[in-house]
Amino acid sequence: MSSYSTNEFRKGLKIQIDGVPFQIIEMNFRKPGKGASLYECKMKNLIRGTVTDKTYRAGQSLEAADVEEFTAQFLYRQGTDYVFMKNDDYEQYELTNEQVGDVGKFIKEGLDCQLMIYNNNPIAVTAPNHVILQVEYCEPATKGNTATNVSKPVKMETGAEILAPAFINIGDWLRVDTRTAEYIERSKKPE
């Protein structure tokens, strides 16, 4: 297994600590004139998504993490699991409900997502930032109210519940931000 020494540390590097993959998402190099270099890192746990602060001193090294990211199509749900297929080689990967997290509420069969694998096991999936989904249920639109500042809860076909303007109806197509679960705009039905 290859490793990185402190002087190879940089933003974006993927390393592992006690068998858990992390990514350096921020790094601050600090060095008092006559003292040792310190590398103050914000590390994202690639399995849990949490961020922790770690400080390394010159001369330390960390093992590289065998993490790969690629485009994979969401095929179908199987019980509480989600099945994806890598677009390159049609290899299939199963992720649990927990691994998919909130992303699961925004993805439809056939959607291209980014899958992350660690030591060949899938660990996380990200959806495109924006998806177009159909409204499955909401209260009827109030007549004449086209104000966008009045919101109501809307349930999408994939299960996500978001806040949308009052003029939205069942069957409308909406563009939704998958990172914030926010309504962006009404859209045409995708081709």
Partner: protein, 304 residues
Amino acid sequence: MCPKLSNLEHRSKLLADLRHFFSQRNFLEVETPLLSSEVIPEQHIEPLVVHSQYLQASPELHMKRLLAAGMTSIYQVTRSFRGHEQGTLHAPEFTIVEWYRVGDDMQAGITLLDELCQSLLDTRPATRTSYSESFSRHVGICPHTSTVSTLIDRARALRIEIPANMPQHDRDEWLNLLLATQVEPNLGIKGPEILFDYPASQAALAKIAPRKDGIQVARRFELYWRGVELANGYDELTDAAELQNRLENVNEKRVADDRPALSLPKSLLQAMERGLPACSGCALGFDRLAMLALGKKSIAEVMP
């Protein structure tokens, strides 16, 4: 990416002001080799090597040869090189301003640095704070008398994120960790601040002398502004045998830290044996100075 041209114009103006400051005081501008077969070993500086020669990490070695040869007030603006240093305040190649004046002690050295700072940055006179005052204020311990276990306990109590490879028995490593994380960010906030009287174990190339209370301290000083270290100066060590001892000690620590020992700078030792006059010297990071003068957060914004 090239920084804004207006930043570079401002930098150029600062450099002209700096040269004017030294020329008004009858300093001679000198040029010394960047590439040399010798280097002053430092525990935490990795010199860059080109064709078996060192790119100088500072012009100190060669400027002291000039002092030993009889020059009395000299300054230099030059590029210096330090491997593996890269960050918002560091670059492997950077601009250093270094000066020496024969006859100056530490107080005179501090005063000259303060004048330079006021003249270039239009700031008020620097606050002068001893290293031990700054530690009692920001860490709550005495840096000269505390044992290493007191320092470690303090670092833990302050919830400092402690690197795994901290040498457990080296007081200076712990002092530097506390300095970097607890003290430095609070220095020079209201205006420039000069720290002086460093622990004797961190004398580097400064003279060691007793304080009034008898504690041995290094006649070393550093300028901070807005939490950024800008300059480091000494009442210069003139004793060749003492320098040799210290550099051998540096090499032992380098080896203990898995880094190669570096051969001793014979030309400097020989010059000091012939006689280095009492003097004070100081080195200033010019990129950082320009960065702060322009209110920027990174030296990259003021480097061409």
